[in-house]
């Protein structure tokens, strides 16, 4: 496991640093503009959570190094575990970097202490787990084409939802009720004060989603031909 982590580090370290450098301007703008730790945490998690998997798995896709990795003496399940661990590590690095920026940037409106609360950290973990759960299996199985398939799928789903919402009409049709429920859930996640039970539920869902995603990714990767 440590060997594959080391390999991913050596293969991707420069690109991860380049991505962070590119995002420096963005993060600097964020800490300058945003004064809500919650909004900062959510937007940063989504940004980092998307950028790092694209960077690491995109390079593998570009250079077709998956074939090299799979010819090394380890099982494919270890390879997948390594990818998850490497991407989490890169995300940790990215989040640490944004905190550093928030701390040292002279015009920052964000206080690091406000971000580093248990609740915010749980929200970060939860959001990244959700992003991972959707993105990684697609990318691991189909490469970057998988991401395109996923995005096109979301677009089509959105169009379909819009059409259905128009066709069904009325404020209380099932689709609008469902969307409202999701929106209320997210609002709860972002604005309500955390109780230990709420945080535990969040953590449980995050762990369950990650485990399911890892399980699916492993199953898909074992079936992949190189």
């Amino acid at each position: 496991m440590l060997k594959i982590l080391r390999l991913e580090f050596l293969f991707n370290r420069r690109q991860v640093l380049i991505v962070l450098a590119i995002f420096t301007a963005y993060f600097a703008y964020m800490v300058f503009r945003i004064d809500s730790p919650r909004v900062f945490v959510v937007s940063t998690s989504i940004m980092i959570g998307l950028a790092m998997p694209f960077t690491i798995l995109g390079r593998e896709d570009k250079f077709k190094t998956a074939a090299l990795v799979c010819s090394l003496p380890m099982r494919r399940s270890t390879v997948v575990l390594g990818k998850y661990a490497a991407t989490w590590a890169a995300i940790g690095l990215g989040l640490g970097y944004t905190l550093l920026l928030a701390a040292v940037f002279p015009f920052s409106k964000i206080q690091v202490a406000e971000i580093l609360t248990a609740r915010n950290l749980f929200v970060v973990l939860f959001l990244i787990s959700l992003i991972f759960a959707v993105i990684l299996p697609f990318t691991i199985r189909f490469g970057l084409v998988g991401i395109i398939i996923l995005l096109v799928g979301f677009q089509l789903f959105g169009i379909l939802a819009l059409i259905l919402s128009q066709v069904l009409g009325g404020a209380n049709n099932p689709l609008r009720v469902f969307i409202r429920a999701v929106a209320d859930g997210l609002r709860t996640l972002l604005t309500h004060e955390a109780t230990p039970g709420f945080l535990l539920a969040l953590l449980t869902v995050g762990v369950a989603v990650s485990a399911a995603s890892l399980f699916v990714s492993r199953a898909l990767y074992v079936r992949r031909d190189f």
Binding site: F11, L68, S71, L72, P73, M74, D225
Partner: protein
């Protein structure tokens, strides 16, 4: 004779291609060439041995172990060279080697550096700056640096200049002087195989045509030639393929001795080269 690789009833189906019931053994301590025309299934066999693609049926045993159940143990003893090296293009050779080395307990850094020096490759060079030949040299250095018992190479000489091809083949020959080591390499360059291979497995359209000692093949297979209509292809014993031109007939046989004894008027007999065999079976009118 112990076998480094045993393949039984191997099957893999793609759209428009089927590797069908492939069975052959690679004896330990020898060089086996896997030959066949483009698209015959050579790369598929190599990838199946490495478990880079999933088999539909059959069995692959390497050093007596199933290649799926004992994947890490087996791969630790294999030096693998891809037809197109799959390394991150923007990294230095030393970085790539450092990442890969950790996976092999028997990685010998001194030997690796020695090989780079021998191949005139600087470890600080970036991979994408290398020519195809140099990339293959680097792949070979990586494959040889961990004292692998089995060197598995897919079309290693394709696209290489004759000088490096000769160097590579000489290196492979030297490698098996240690009788523990085995080489299996696929190629459609038959002259390379004639130069170094001890055994040859010929694959055509996803099936094994023969798997035998190279010298035995070169001794027993032959081409029977005749001008005009002296005989028909089916008159030649063990005919495996033929080519008819306006004024002549050429028939490939897998039993040259029997062909010589047959009543074939005006026939001329020659031993077949691997290239003849590949041509007649691949391009000529093949006989079952």
């Amino acid at each position: 004779m112990d076998n480094a690789i045993e393949i039984k009833g191997l099957r893999k189906e793609y759209k428009g291609f089927r590797l069908d019931d492939v069975t052959f053994d690679v004896p330990q301590g020898y060089i086996m060439g896997l030959i066949g025309p483009n698209g015959a299934g050579k790369t598929t066999v190599v990838k199946l041995i490495m478990n880079l693609i999933r088999r539909d049926a059959g069995e692959v045993r390497v050093f007596g172990l199933d290649n799926l159940r004992h994947e890490p143990e087996i791969k630790a003893r294999i030096g693998f060279v891809y037809d197109v090296p799959r390394f991150p293009e923007d990294l230095r050779l030393e970085t790539i080697a450092s990442a890969v080395a950790a996976f092999y307990d028997k990685w010998d850094a001194a030997r690796f550096m020695g090989l780079l020096e021998e191949f005139q490759l600087s470890p600080r060079k970036v991979f994408k700056k290398l020519s195809h030949g140099m990339k293959m040299k680097f792949s070979l250095a990586v494959a040889l640096a961990h004292d692998a018992d089995l060197i598995l190479m897919d079309e290693p000489t394709a696209g290489l200049d004759p000088v490096f091809r000769f160097e590579l083949l000489t290196k492979l020959r030297a490698l098996i002087q240690d009788e523990r080591k085995t080489v299996l390499f696929s190629s459609h360059i038959t002259s390379d195989l004639e130069r170094v291979a001890d055994f040859v497995t010929f694959i055509h359209k996803g099936r094994v045509v023969f798997s035998a000692a190279k010298d035995e093949v070169l001794e027993t297979w032959g081409v029977v030639r005749a001008a005009g209509d002296g005989f028909r292809p089916e008159d030649v014993p063990d005919a495996r393929g033929f080519r008819r031109t306006e004024n002549s007939l050429e028939v490939l046989t897998s039993d040259l001795a029997a062909a010589r004894r047959a009543p074939l008027s005006g026939a001329v007999f020659d031993k077949a080269s691997l290239e003849d065999i590949m041509f007649f079976i691949g391009k000529g009118n093949a006989h079952a």
